[in-house]
Amino acid sequence: MDFLANLAPHLVNGITLGLLFALIALGFMLIVGVMEVINLAHGSLFALGAYVAMTIIGIEPQWFGPLGEWYAALPAGLRYSFALVLAPILVGLVGMLLEFCLRGTYGKDPLFGLLLTFGAAMVIEELIRIIWGSGEQVLQTPPAISGAFIWNGLIWSSYRFFAAGFSVLAIVMVWLFLERTPYGAIIKAGAHDSEMVRALGINLSRLRLYVFGFGVALAALAGIIMAPIWGLRPHVGVDAVIPAFLIIALGGVGSFGGAVVAGVLVGLTVGITGAYASEWSLMSMYILLIAVISFRARGLFGKKSVLEN
């Protein structure tokens, strides 16, 4: 009983963590699932998103004259939500730029896409270092979602729950978009046969452009959400891309539900080991992956993927 009392908070915590992981993996999942591109720049775009948001929130009055002053006068909450919308869009455009570079690699060995984005990751990380410096930065969160609250005897971070809740929102939105809109249908079709998409008379290259942009925007969004927890530094993306990888492998390529379930699963595993075998908390997710993949060829819910041949 006492043990359960101890365990409970860690379960809660593990689930929140898991939702965050799922959010991190979301954009990566979309790109890999639909375009069969393993986007190793996911991490640095994740970081870029946070940096851009930080800049937008902290715009100095003098930058844009009266407009700037009016903006700077806005309550923190408004500026934050503004950044939450604008930053992903901007980074999404960067993503589209990257997609142009990727075009040459379509239909070739998927390796090339993977390595191109590996190069891009380096470039973006260095650009961040040049623009914002290599120092530790802080992404300010509005007071409404900052601070902590006490819940049966333990202190919990309000922001963490906001973040988890936001992840749920984002996940549901994306799911609705994929399942309940014609665009979603097309995207899913594109995921499984580009033949069919062409047959539908849809411009495949434009589809790819948008999907990639969208996936990257999601990466940026995750970056903004994670920055107040992980902190912000040019190479923070590395911490994002590996879990994303893992979760996709675990959930199965091209499976939306899989990614979400896997995210939560990883979160729980890390959370619980963190409490009872903390030194293995990082290792645990790899073990989990190896265990699952050894028995389930395509992760939990994976479908056959072109990337397998």
Binding site: G104, V123, I290, A297
Partner: protein, 335 residues
């Protein structure tokens, strides 16, 4: 990729040229502003990349955690020297053996997988080894690394040569490089080589012809892991220490970069060219600018975008175009 039915001699002209170039290296390396130690590292990574390309280029298996076996080799070499006996051959043996062992173990999980899941599993295992190398610090020295690894003499029974100087070490490393090159060249023109290339092109048909695809994939992985181990062992000699970061995802990514920049997908020599370019570019950029990573990434993106077959591919294309234009000149009345 070069055909099997063409004449495949033990030694070919490109080999002789490469060997000659490298043998003479110590004579001119300083005068072009390079330094001996860099030569050592380059050749070591050439060996690593060659072994890795057996997996990536010839069998088409995307393995992204190969730094792990390089690292295992380095640690195995170091530990054998520090705790067992100071002997070069023992060290090399341990390096190759334990890397192969690790590889074989992982390969048993991997070999019925393909494509992205193969890649992801290799990454996961790579991370596990990396993690262990830090975690198990009583054995490995953790993030401080395994230090003061001796460079044992090269004992040939009748004579024993000291490898203390980087130049002596270079020639030893070069010797192993030569053996590896000849060995691999032979291997890829052997029946085994033909089979793995077949697996790359069409795994299913290869099985239907009656080959045990799993076993071949397993064997290739183990083999290339042991070569990675060999390289790692030499690396431990060169650095006289072994560090966890050679096992990190980045190090593993870099060897993939070398192979692709060089053109490993289309040429036996790709990895060799790639390793050389990689280190030269990196060493210069690193010394020239704080932002070397930026230029490095751009360069890399450019190669993938404009010459995905890598340098060797570009070269082959050039030669081909030459030939064609020549042919056109020969018969001016065509068309």
């Amino acid at each position: 990729m070069n055909t099997n039915t063409g004449v495949a001699a033990w030694i070919t002209r490109p080999m002789l040229i490469t060997f000659a170039l490298l043998v003479s290296l110590p004579l001119w390396i300083e005068s072009v502003g390079l330094y001996q130690y860099l030569g050592v590292e380059i050749v070591i990574w050439m060996v690593f990349a060659l072994g890795f390309n057996l997996l990536l280029g010839y069998t088409g298996l995307p393995a992204f955690g190969h730094g792990a076996y390089f690292g295992i080799g380095a640690y195995a070499f170091g530990l054998s020297q520090l705790h067992l006996a100071e002997s070069l051959w023992l060290g090399i043996f341990c390096a190759m053996f334990f890397a192969a062992l690790g590889g074989a173990m992982v390969a048993t999980f991997l070999s019925h997988r393909r494509g992205i899941y193969y890649a992801l599993l290799t990454i996961a295992f790579g991370q596990v080894f990396w993690f262990l190398s830090i975690k198990w610090h009583r054995l490995t020295g953790g993030e401080d690394g395994l230090l003061n690894i001796p460079r044992p003499d090269l004992d040939l029974g009748f004579v024993s040569i000291s490898l203390a100087s980087n130049q002596a070490l270079f020639y030893f490393v070069l010797l192993l490089f030569v053996l590896v090159v000849i060995g691999l060249w032979r291997l890829i023109h052997s029946p085994f080589g033909t089979v793995i290339k077949a697996i790359k092109q069409n795994e299913m048909r290869t099985a239907f012809i009656g080959y045990n695809v799993w076993l071949y994939k397993w064997l290739v992985f183990t083999l290339s892991a042991s070569i990675a181990g060999l390289a790692g062992g030499m690396f431990a000699m060169a650095q006289e220490s072994a560090y966890p970061d050679v096992m990190s995802l980045h190090a593993s990514g870099f060897v993939v970069m070398m192979v692709l920049i060089g053109g490993g997908m289309v040429s036996f020599w790709g990895p060799v060219i790639g390793a050389a370019v990689y280190f030269l570019a990196r060493d210069l950029l690193g010394a020239a600018t704080e932002t070397w990573l930026l230029w490095y990434g751009l360069m890399f993106m450019a190669v993938i975008m404009f010459k995905p077959e890598g340098i060797a591919g570009a070269w082959q294309g050039l030669v081909k175009r030459r030939k064609e234009s020549a042919r056109v000149e020969k018969k001016p009345f065509t068309g």
